[in-house]
Symmetry: D2
Subunit: 309 residues, 4 copies
């Protein structure tokens, strides 16, 4: 029977070195982290994997914009499913608005008066949000009306990507690389409000069925599908349900602070998805209980180093 | 300075009696529960409130179908924003498929072979899901094609409600009462798959902008808006963002097990929404940390009794 | 196969009525709540049960002092294992100091200057704490030195109970009823500091081995042992480990917001304790994920009503 | 106003490099991780710090035994406050018993029959536990009776450390380095049971007041006190309360998955402790929401590298 071992620290360890030590622990949190690094390395290394990542929670505003963009740029990720908020934040930064460091104990009424909106201890400027509305409308005007009358969210976001000048932008990079950014809840975000106001006086029909057809098609393009699930919500569920036609994903890792007992999809163990045909096997699954924006940078580094080796 | 008191139990206490004892505690969990009962009673009593409820997690399959339906039937709730899963479950039961009691430690591969799909310790039959697909397609056929070409989710769900025979059905009751059920992520559910398969060979275009226009309009129909938030996800965010045009909701309660520190919208304190203009004031806000499907029945009973008094 | 049902609300429902509706749900949170009410009713009704309760977190200051005292007074609870903080709070109130309603967003430096100490949104007065030190020393002086030289925590707390005048006091009531209050971490509390300062100039030897002998003996006094676990920590573990000599408790319910994946005892599922011989069987176990001070009042009421029926 | 930045990944980054990137994010989880690395580096670098670490949850069995031992060996940690379980596990390994890799879905009744006890997905052998009982009694016999009659837990654990042969043992290393291991709940553990059975036929009196006197003295030995809090429970509270005489610790980091809203000490924000005089200032405090045994290895590496630089 395999034995639990202990992590040994050495000088100037790389993240991958630590992940290997954790994999040898084999149990509890370190064991799960180590296993996730191994699975993610396999997804990155094996060209037969179509890797889909889901983004919920403040992944882009919370400091991971460059990481997600780089993974898309290197085509280590073949498709992204995200909340509207993450797309909104990519665009805000792309048009020059950076978020501000605040505190979770600020008085929200005062912030409101100052034109600052809070995400825990991060502040977004209303000025940026207003600028985004004007920019979005302008960018929409540049899309031919015929195209606007029946457009998928991923097509729309490519159109935006084409018009953005920021090389660090996820949308820009995704468009250049032909990686689709699916945003099934695009209506439910600051960006979504802009689309809605536009649609009231102009032709704009976003067709989620077109998105879903494309996403399902993608699950058949390579031999295997890998799912990288950051946070829960609709993005998590969407990546998994799209794979139910092909019998489920082949490997999946999720990082979440949500709990399973309530029965919601966000905190559900990946194993449950096997009974729905959304995941194939329990062998290549792992859940890390933690904050995705803390854990994922370490996990990515570990996997990139291992994938190379 | 107000003093913390202690809960006294008496014989045959009603839930409202307990809630009053808890309100007198004034601090920690009991204080929050008591405050929520008071706010909810006000929302139920005061005819100037337009009450919107958001449903995320297994609210309908987890035992609260009758409660939510009754609140809609009595028009104590004026609008519902829900995940597709909750709608799917209402329809499954309406066409005769009940869920089965399982266990969280069942082997999901075996369940898959048996045609059972798991939500923690609850089992859904694939037979029901297949029946639902046929029924959905049949119900869609009965909707005039012209209407299907540009339909809001709430209109579609009313059309379904009209065709369902189950008096306990949320969709049926909502249609009878003219209460809209908004489902911004309808595409992302078993029902959504049925809509998608239908749309590939028939005319079906669901227009989320129509939904959002209706939802925003509703926020202006009465003097005040009350938000009852069960779980997080897109339904929570959607109810709040729709109120940003009118300057925010007037009162809100949320029940959640998600945590705030990660920065995701699901676990975010309601106070944050003030800085976004989605909530007006900190005075009538409360978050109960707990499982919505355990807490909400008690809370509803307490509020109904108080609203009457 | 059993079917999931839905909660029906009626007018003036008692808490027990709701618990029965929840038991019929059979799954997820409501199922667990209903099962817990049934198990607790059995513990209360069946005279063969020795019921032990563990208290961690702000059970006494958070509004449940009267409830716990009543259960001890009616001997529905045969023994209590608690943190030192809960004992400290019982004594503070017994000598006339009530806690004050605060807010979780108060500035702790200002509170410090004002002589107020914070537990989330509850404030404790330093004046009370200083009064408690003097009172504790005086009460210790009244205990014969011979007894003080080798005293168990439960004996010491009985001695204090004897000297307290407050009929609502848990310590007072426990002493009158001969119910031991075990406090294995008594040293680690405000009261503990008082004991320590006293011990530096007077004879005082608290002997935890005496406590443990008594606690283990208690597990043999009746045919069955029931464990009611509010929060985790040392009190939870202590109740369970004391039962390992007799092969484990016969029934147990726990209410906690801690999670299992980290591997700590506080959040551990009760089933784990079977492998340690601390619980006998998986049949009469249930964990409710929730805030103990919100859930336990409802659970107690439901169980008391059912135990009578 | 400071701006939120994004993490940039590079080849073969050390953990310290990542921590610096996270510190620059300044908000949310990465910001907290980066701040914690900076504070911990200061604690390690500045010789004026008396660093106290608290261990709750499976820190030692979960893979961090070598790390904690190394920090004690290098005297970067001056004192340890721990649960009895962590001490038990150090001793089990020191006498040759390693833990076994299991799974969280194992049947606990079968494990019980096989003599295996479970901590989530880690298995402890009953054989080891029985061996430990014999060894503990033998080691106790070698301690002079006079010393056994009034011994602090830290003195007892040094006596054990002296008799253990394993150079990786925390107890052994702590004894060699003169670092006290305080175990205020030593009675409440497998080791505690051994002490209790011994005490029933031999002289053994463990005096927690002696422990507390030593711990309080330690808080005065250097200019500053730093607290490193892994998990919650009594160890966390104990480190903090011991510092209340000197006006509080100067810096503290905690890693926990417990939540604050319930009001328990385990999940309480460090800021609360300022109002109790257990922490001096809000400037050098940080809480990381996460699994301590995943986060602390990365944090330690980052801090060690920075402390050197």
């Amino acid at each position: 029977m395999p034995i639990v071992s202990h992590i040994k620290l050495k000088r100037a360890m790389t993240v991958s070195d630590v992940a290997k030590e954790m994999e040898a622990v084999r149990v509890l949190g370190p064991g799960r982290f180590g296993k996730a690094a191994r699975i993610l390395a396999e997804m990155f290394r094996d060209k037969n994997y179509q890797n889909l990542i889901s983004l919920a929670g403040p992944i882009i505003p919370g400091g991971l914009r460059t990481i997600i963009t780089e993974l898309v740029d290197r085509r280590l990720i073949g498709g992204v499913v995200t909340t509207g908020a993450n797309v909104t934040h990519d665009m805000l930064e792309a048009i020059g608005h950076r978020n501000i460091v605040g505190s979770e104990s600020m008085d929200d009424r005062i912030l409101r008066r100052k034109g600052l909106s809070r995400i825990y201890d991060l502040l977004v400027t209303q000025k940026g949000i207003e600028h985004l509305e004007r920019t979005t409308h302008r960018m929409l005007n540049r899309i031919p009306e015929g195209r606007r009358q029946n457009i998928a969210s991923y097509e729309l976001l490519w159109e935006f990507g084409k018009q953005l000048r920021d090389e660090n932008s996820l949308l820009r990079t995704a468009q250049k690389r032909g990686v689709p950014i699916f945003c099934p809840g695009i209506f439910d975000s600051m960006l979504g409000l802009n689309l809605w106001t536009y649609s009231r006086i102009n032709s704009l029909f976003i067709n989620p069925f077109k998105d879903f057809s494309r996403l399902v098609d993608m699950t058949y393009e390579k031999k295997k599908v890998g799912a990288v699930i950051l946070g829960g919500g609709m993005p998590k569920h969407h990546v998994l349900i799209a794979n139910s036609y092909r019998g489920g994903v082949d490997a999946a890792i999720q990082i979440t602070l949500d709990r399973p007992e309530g029965g919601g999809a966000s905190g559900a163990p990946l194993e449950e998805a096997i009974s729905w045909g959304k995941i194939k096997t329990p062998n290549k699954l792992v859940t890390i209980v933690g904050d995705a924006i803390v854990i994922f940078p370490f996990l990515t580094l570990a996997a990139l180093e291992r994938a190379k080796a």
